[in-house]
């Protein structure tokens, strides 16, 4: 393994030791990653035995692709410096104080953003940028889909290309949405908000981010390896049939699942152990609850996703038969494993998004959060129930018809804690002084979109209505209302809210409002049209439509182009504001949570003197006499 080369250097005297750390960056990561991939591929090509046992699906090509990708993974993580810590531990030469400071990115300027930097603020910015890149890619793919469906007949894209575009759009957007709150704001804002100097495990923090980066090349390589014609759910046995591009998908999911696990453990431990003196659970901001619930929920469910992809990969590369009925496997097993992750995952996305809104609502209404306890109950209730609802994705699979009733019950019960969060938000707006800003607008927009997304979910949760609607594009419209209309809109609100703390500048108001209105209008046009054709019976994931659905699809495509315009304005706004925006004051929103008590740029360890908390962050409003 390439890691061995590190050892003589790191075991040497102290000057070259430090030099090695200094030399590692994304460039060495990419170099070693490529070298590792090519070397592994060459070795596999040369030494792998020829496949003679005539199993159903195993191919040498898949084995070579997997081995090359593992080579990339090991090479990249070595080159970026992820292995130095563990090997130094093994050798009993723990990082010195200076080295730890170097890792934290001390005095490195812009370079620290391209290194294995442990400072949570650097990691937060890195996450913010990669989230936007991921959304950009996913958005381009979405536009390809909508352009293809712009008129009846479709087929502007080849069917295989179309299916790949659908799958890649799905997985990039899901990954982007999972990290969009807990990545940038969970890392940058959360430790300051709880009055900590850094995350509990700074090196794991860097690891979680660079794992996301390491997952990108395998995923993108699938485009050149035949694509992923399965959608993001990658159902077997279709996954077995797919070209080697599928291996890239599997590898990317596995790496991303590890990243999620690492981040989950880190963020949870930080919130539990690192809160400032006096910050009891009653005084902990609701955003912290949301972030912790999200990552703590991901902790037990993503390994199941990981397992499902490991088994798919084994089926493809070694000829095992976990999902292949010709060898005693079961496609239902895959569906169960996938959705045990798949449904909690949407709450992994939504809970922190709504928590961010609940955090902002008191600031912009100048009154306390309405019913903090109800908010916590809602978050806990959603998290708890969400692991018990997965089989509503399997109502029509024939998997276990007798379980449809119980799963309908759990699914619909989840509307109760969700309703609590609605009450908290509305209650906070009620009789407040509504300060009209972009984050405020995001709260209203989310309440609007999420009402639609939530109610359409009730139709889908009903077994007999689901028999008509399952697999139709109605479902697609439903989850876009929840994940995009509610989730992404919250994230944009949160971005504008915390932008001054993260970049030192205010978000450009004019561009922000323009983008907001264009995207919201376009969004509702696009997905209302999609609801219509879905009710009328258009299946999901089809690359060609009959003339009957022409009108609805044209409307949706039009709406999609409007969204695109709005998103480009937003992106422009981010760049313009970040570079040329008006300098922000320390606390532009006059908020009371701890992150606003430090100036920009936030110093390396956040606080000169650790704060002591005596009350919660929602002490707005004055007592009525």
């Amino acid at each position: 393994m390439t890691t061995v080369t590190n050892r003589p250097a790191s075991a040497g005297p102290s000057a070259p030791k430090k030099a090695l750390i200094e030399r590692l960056s994304i460039i060495t990561g990419l170099l070693l990653g490529i070298v590792g991939a090519v070397l592994a591929w060459y070795l596999a090509r040369t030494f792998l035995p020829v496949n003679t046992d005539g199993s159903y699906i195993k191919t040498r090509m898949d084995q070579e692709v997997f081995i090359a990708m593992i080579g990339w993974f090991v090479g990249f993580m070595t080159g970026i410096g992820a292995l130095i810590g563990p090997f130094r531990w093994l050798l009993g030469k723990d990082l010195t104080h200076d080295e730890t400071l170097f890792y934290a990115g001390k005095d490195q300027g812009v370079k620290r953003y391209f290194r294995y930097t442990t400072d949570h603020k650097v990691v937060g910015i890195q996450y913010l940028v990669i989230t936007m890149v991921i959304f950009f890619v996913g958005g381009v793919l979405a536009m390809l889909i909508r352009t293809n469906l712009g008129h009846a007949g479709g087929n502007w894209l080849q069917p295989q290309t179309y299916n790949t575009v659908v799958g890649l759009h799905g997985i990039t957007m899901v990954v982007g949405a999972i990290i969009m709150i807990t990545g940038p704001f969970g890392n940058f804002i959360m430790p300051i908000m709880i009055g900590a100097r850094d995350m509990a495990f700074p090196r794991l923090n860097a690891l979680s981010f660079w794992l996301v980066v390491a997952a990108v090349p395998p995923l993108l390589s699938s485009i050149w390896l035949g694509g992923i014609p399965t959608g993001w759910s990658a159902y077997n046995p279709l996954e077995n049939q797919a070209p080697p591009g599928m291996d890239g998908f599997i590898m990317a999911i596995c790496i991303f699942a590890i990243s999620t696990m690492v981040a989950g453990a880190n963020i949870t431990a930080t919130a539990v152990k690192m809160r400032a003196k006096g910050m009891t659970w009653n005084r902990t901001p609701i955003f912290i609850y949301g972030v912790v619930a999200s990552v703590a929920l991901a902790l037990p469910v993503f390994p199941v996703f990981f397992l499902s992809q490991v088994l798919s990969g084994l089926d493809r590369a070694t000829g095992s038969t976990f999902f292949d009925v010709r060898g005693g496997g079961s496609p239902w097993l895959y569906e169960n494993l996938f959705w045990i992750m798949g449904h909690p995952e949407v709450y992994v996305i939504l809970i922190p998004a709504l928590a961010a809104l609940m955090e902002m609502a008191p600031v912009f209404t100048r009154r306390p959060l309405f019913s903090f306890n109800l908010a916590i109950m809602g978050i806990a209730g959603i998290s708890g129930l969400s692991v018990l609802v997965w089989a509503h994705h399997l109502y029509v699979s024939g998997w276990a018809p007798l379980l449809n009733g119980p799963f309908m019950l759990t699914t619909e019960l989840i509307s109760i804690p969700t309703g609590m969060l609605f009450l908290v938000l509305i209650g906070t707006l009620w009789r407040g002084r509504v300060w009209i800003t972009l984050p405020t607008a995001a709260i209203y927009a989310v309440l609007f979109n999420f009402t639609i997304g939530g109610i359409t979910g009730i139709y889908l949760s009903d077994v007999s209505a689901d028999a008509a609607l399952h697999g139709s594009i109605f479902v697609t419209a439903h989850f876009h209302y929840t994940l995009m209309g509610a989730g992404l809109t919250s994230a944009i609100g949160a971005l504008v809210y915390w932008f001054p703390k993260m970049t030192g500048r205010m978000f450009d108001k004019k561009l922000g409002w323009t983008a907001f209105w264009i995207t919201q209008v376009g969004f509702n046009i696009a997905f209302m049209g999609m609801f219509m054709v879905g009710l009328a019976g258009q299946p999901r994931r089809v690359g060609a439509i009959s003339a009957f659905y022409d009108k609805g699809n044209s409307i949706t495509t039009m709406g999609a182009y409007i969204i695109m315009t709005g998103m480009l304005v937003l992106l422009h706004g981010v760049v313009v504001s970040w570079v040329w925006g008006t300098k922000a004051t320390q606390n532009p929103w006059f908020a009371k949570s701890l992150e606003w008590s430090v100036a920009y740029p936030v110093p390396l360890e956040n606080f000169d003197v650790l704060p002591v908390v005596t009350e919660d962050a929602y002490g707005y409003g004055k007592a009525q006499s």
């Binding site: 009993g92 088994l311 045990i340």
Partner: protein
């Protein structure tokens, strides 16, 4: 401006650092436990479904019937892992009692146990009468054994580090590392027990 306060991290009490690290490891173990339980789910689901009667394929013209492995082997792995746990526990008690000799000896024994368990598990996998392609049971067997191998590889790494660090006298002052490694040893033993338990149902 932060320079003056950069040292504060070092003023943290080792117990605070230890308890934070312990929580982190337990949280990561939550993920690994979920993974191992899902593996059990895969095993029992496929066994119960027995799709096309191919959980254990009967003899055909081209292939002999798949016969399940003797489950004793899986239990031996668990027993060796448990021995590793006991020896590591012995080392931990040594560290707590400031007995460096006991710490070093226990760590070394634990390292040996992990290597032996790993080697034995690999031998078992090579000794099966079937390959991974021969039916759902065969696939599941290699999944469970493979999970053991992964866990044991990791255990060897940790046990090696733990022994090396004990040898270098790093645990004279504080020994929360040794405590945390103990947590891992417990889970290692339990996960191997899960596997042996599943394989007891053919």
């Amino acid at each position: 401006m932060s320079v003056d306060h950069a040292h504060t991290a070092h003023h943290e009490h080792p117990d605070a650092v230890g308890s934070r690290n312990r929580l982190g490891v337990v949280l990561i173990l939550v993920a690994d436990i979920a993974f191992a339980l899902s593996v059990l789910f895969v095993y029992f689901y496929l066994r119960q479904q027995n799709v096309n009667g191919l959980w254990l394929p009967k003899a055909s013209d081209t292939a002999a019937a798949t016969t399940p492995v003797a489950v004793a082997g899986a239990w031996y792995v668990t027993i060796i892992a448990a021995l590793g746990l006991v020896t590591h526990r012995y080392a931990l008690l040594g560290a707590r009692a400031k007995n460096q000799t006991q710490l070093k000896l226990g760590s070394l024994l634990a390292l040996v146990a992990s290597v032996v368990a790993l080697a034995y598990q690999v031998i078992l996998m090579n000794g099966t009468s079937f390959t991974i392609t021969m039916g759902a049971y065969a696939s599941c067997y290699f999944l469970i054994a493979g999970l053991n191998v992964m866990h044991l590889l990791f255990t060897v790494f940790i046990a090696l580090g733990n022994w090396n660090r004990s040898r270098l006298g790093i645990y004279v002052a504080d020994h929360w590392h040794v405590d945390i490694v103990n947590v891992w040893w417990i889970w290692m033993t339990v996960s191997s027990l899960f596997g042996a338990f599943a394989l007891s149902f053919k």
